[in-house]
Amino acid sequence: MRMTPFLSLLARDIRLATRAGGSVALALAFFAAMATLVPLGVGNDLKLLARAAAGVLWVAAVLAALLSLNRLFQADFEDGSLDLIALSPLSLESVAAAKILGHWLTTGLPLTLLSPLLGLMFGLPPEAIAVLTVSLLIGTPAVSALGAIGAGLTLTIRRGGLILPLLVLPLLAPAVIFGAGAVRGVLDGLSNGALLFLAAFALAATVLSPFAAAAAVRLNLAG
């Protein structure tokens, strides 16, 4: 793989996501707004909130990341850029990897950085906040990676944004289970190995997804 083309695609995607109208600010706002709505719904019992915090924040992070996923390839497909990118020296697998990395850097990472603040507001003790942050840091790449498969598959579907969550959410169940489970383990004073499982899951997903996503994009370009 050549580095200059890979980095240029990555840099362009980050630039597009961070410019006005980009997805970073939107994802962060969505994440915070969802996390705010939950205590309004379930009441302000801090004990209850602390128990629910990891699950709520993990689900909110997954949904916030999904928001921008359906545009991952579609934006480039609609204006013809994807053809130009496909004809570049990069293989479609590398293109998918660059897009996944770019998506994670502009959603998963900022969400992770915001999560300690929200964890604090949910009454999580410091050590649980630390584990929550670590779990999001190692788990959210899997969200971008598996989401990229869904984005590739729904590339040519006009209402693809509606189908994508249905395709991707069941696949992400292990990330939510292990991510939130790690934090609950801290609250219960158990060491349950969740972070290791989460890391293994995220690693496998990140390594394998570019191939599936590239296959999906290739097939849709031929349409």
């Binding site: 693809g160 189908i163 169940a173 292990p174 219960d188 599936a212 097939l219 349409g223």
Partner: protein, 239 residues
């Protein structure tokens, strides 16, 4: 006029399945009947009473739902690697059937659970992973329906089918892990061991469900092939 069917020959499947279907149907009826009758005649369980009889409806449904996804994944693999239209059709038609057996497994599981757990739904590992399996099926069906071009829809669905098949054991593992680690044990891992009086009816009804799936599957594949032929003829006539 070359069409999908110039490149593959589903004719052999049509001949084979039309010879096989009557036998399959008879065998399905016999085994299901035997399984249900023996099931209802079996003695009540010392712990669960008569509700144990739901097992003969639930366990085979769950098994068939899993098998259907396995077959869907195998067909997807054939479809991607050898681009065989029959594999496309086989995968496509397995999905709605698998989804129905999954729903059947969920409903009977919930009915079975009510007297045991005192609630219609508990987040037991098996029920939860079946619910996720249902979503995998629904996503697969939705993707098929959303892509208009048939060949492209088949390939996209095949990719999703394979990704789902790789992920399914991990989902299963994670859900089991969660149930074991949430502190409040609802359902003992492994469940009650099965007494031999229940084994025969379970075997019969399991075989009956499996045969039922294959019967319905073959009928659905035949219908889909005939539909595609009819459409190809109409298009050829219009051109």
């Amino acid at each position: 006029m070359p069409s999908l069917f110039t490149y593959a020959n589903p004719k052999r499947f049509m001949d084979l399945s039309s010879a096989l279907l009557p036998w399959l149907t008879v065998a399905t009826v016999l085994f299901l009947f035997a399984g249900l009758v023996l099931g209802f005649l079996s003695p009540p369980d010392y712990q669960q009473g008569d509700t144990v009889k739901l097992m003969f409806l639930h366990v085979p449904a769950a098994w068939t739902a899993m098998m259907a996804y396995g077959l869907l994944a195998v067909a997807s693999f054939f479809s991607l690697v050898w681009r065989h239209p029959l594999a496309d059709v086989a995968a496509k038609t397995a999905a709605p059937l698998g989804a129905v057996f999954t729903v059947l497994g969920l409903v009977t599981g919930s009915l079975w659970g009510r007297p045991m757990w005192g609630a219609w739904w508990v987040w037991d590992a098996r029920l939860t992973s079946f619910l996720l399996l249902l979503f995998l099926y629904l996503g697969y069906i939705a993707l098929w329906n959303a892509i208009e071009d048939e060949t492209r829809a088949a390939r996209a669905a095949a990719i999703l089918g394979l990704v789902g098949a790789i992920n399914l054991p991990i989902i299963e593992f994670s859900v089991n892990w969660q149930t074991l680690h949430q502190g409040e044990s609802i359902f003992r891992e492994g469940g009650p061991t099965i007494a031999s009086v229940f084994l025969w009816p379970l075997g019969f009804s399991g075989l009956g469900y499996t045969l039922l799936f294959f019967t319905l599957w073959f009928v659905r594949i035949r219908t889909e092939i005939l539909e595609r032929r009819a459409r190809a003829l109409l298009l050829a006539g219009a051109a």
